[in-house]
């Protein structure tokens, strides 16, 4: 028993606040937009150069000039603005985006994040991930707790980093952890997924963490 992808997205959506500007990565993070609470005003940023991103278009209404950072066709909203990629990352780097929700390969107990390359494998590039984790006010990682049975929450990342000490929260299928960026406080387990026990989490986690359930 653990959370489904949808439940993980739903949990991440609880971190949204009214008026937030949010950047969602591809994969599970994209699903978060399905769980924005009724009446809450959230503007989604797409780092290619758009703020106020709408849902996918109806069939036949796709516009090749209107895509998101995942190169998917999207739509415009009344609040939408377009800008250059440099202006987009000025917004990101300058701390104007409240929240970024991303996937990850590994997270270390000090908040280090690895999600862009595996040495020896074909490298596709980091895209905007390094800028997002360095610039956005709050970074939430949504990922499976383990990969092929191996823990992804580690004492130290052994893959090349995307950012050092950048993670604020990790939501997995098994649990939710909080990180303080003070470099001293341990990461904290703050929630267990439905039907998951503390022992389950301990067994599937290499990182050291405090329990604050």
């Amino acid at each position: 028993m653990a959370w489904t992808r949808e439940q993980m997205a739903q949990r991440a959506a609880q971190e949204l606040q009214d008026g937030f500007y949010v950047n969602l990565g591809i994969g599970i993070p994209t699903l978060v937009s399905n769980y924005i609470p009724e009446g809450m005003e959230i503007q989604l940023q797409s780092e290619n150069g758009m703020l106020g991103m709408g849902p996918f278009p109806y069939e036949g209404e796709e516009d090749a000039d209107l895509i998101n950072a995942g190169k998917q066709t999207v739509t415009e909203l009344p609040t939408t603005s377009y800008f250059s990629n440099a202006d987009s990352f000025a917004m990101i780097r300058g701390g104007h985006i409240n929240l970024s929700i991303l996937g990850a390969m590994q997270v270390a107990q000090n908040g280090d994040l690895a999600n862009w390359m595996i040495p020896g494998k074909m490298v596709k590039g980091m895209g905007g991930a390094m800028d997002l984790v360095a610039g956005v006010k709050k970074v939430i990682i949504v990922m499976e707790h383990t990969a092929k049975g191996e823990p992804k929450l580690l004492k130290t990342c052994n893959l090349p980093l995307t950012g050092k000490g950048v993670v604020d929260m990790v939501i997995t299928d098994m649990a939710v952890f909080k990180f303080e960026k003070d470099g001293e406080t341990n990461m904290k387990l703050i929630q267990l997924a439905d039907g998951v026990t503390l022992d389950d989490v301990k067994e599937a986690t290499e990182a050291e963490f405090d329990v604050a359930l």
Partner: protein
């Protein structure tokens, strides 16, 4: 207004400015807003050993994929190149060098290059491979890495509309890297979907002033490609 900046076709627009080993910038994000007609003309010109600065590298047979196929590119400076088999092949066998650059650093480097700023500091990439060999400096208790401005011998951009003075506007997310690249090319060549007389674009709406654009080619009704066609059905809740 004279037609001094207007060229009859993409080949004419690139005549005399392409050389082996040069640095090109090429606008676009994925296949959105790429200067596809100009890229095809670079292929026809046959120049080799190009360093190409572009966020992505096209896909097989489209955009920069065409120049990979013809082996005209020796170095790519990009943030993400995932969608291209030709790319993977040449990269893995060492024919192609790739400089991976975080997307926001890349676009800011291009903006800086066009703005006469030789270097700037950013938090992006501190403590990662990207910062290796680069100067790191502490400001107000936080570390930042120094990144250099980028310019190109020639910048190829795609715009929605230009007037004959070279003032450019863009459409939706096809803007992406095109405006900064227009400023960072020693010669900037724009392919434009619509070409109008000066005064037809509201001067408050102009994104790239004409001073940055040396050559213009009118490419009406270009074929536009969609990489990830994602849709919803009418009865689906958004």
């Amino acid at each position: 207004m004279s037609d001094r900046k207007i060229y009859a076709d993409a080949t004419a627009a690139l005549d005399g400015i392409l050389t082996n080993g040069m640095t090109l910038m090429s606008g676009g994000f994925g296949l959105c807003g790429i200067p596809e007609t100009l890229i095809e003309a670079v292929k026809v010109a046959g120049v080799k050993g190009l360093t190409v600065i572009s966020n992505n590298a096209g896909v097989d047979g489209i955009g920069l994929g065409v120049l990979l196929e013809s082996k005209q590119i020796s170095t790519m400076v990009s943030s993400y190149v995932g969608e291209n088999k030709m790319f993977a092949e040449q990269y893995l066998n060492g024919d192609l060098e790739v400089v991976f650059t975080p997307q926001g650093t890349l676009s800011e480097q291009i903006r800086a290059g066009g703005a006469g700023i030789p270097a700037f500091y950013t938090k992006t990439g501190v403590g990662t491979l990207v910062a290796e060999g680069k100067e790191v400096k502490n400001f107000d208790g936080e570390d930042y890495v120094m990144e250099r401005g980028l310019t190109a011998d020639v910048a190829l951009v795609h715009a929605y509309m230009a007037d004959k003075e070279g003032n450019l506007v863009f459409r939706k997310t096809a803007r992406n890297f095109n405006p900064m690249m227009a400023t960072a090319g020693r010669i900037t060549v724009a392919e434009v979907e619509h070409l109008v007389e000066p005064g037809e674009i509201d001067p408050d709406h102009i994104v790239v002033p004409g001073v940055y654009v040396q050559r213009i080619v009118h490419v009406p009704n270009p074929v536009k490609h969609i990489e990830q066609r994602t849709t919803r059905t009418r009865n689906q809740v958004a």
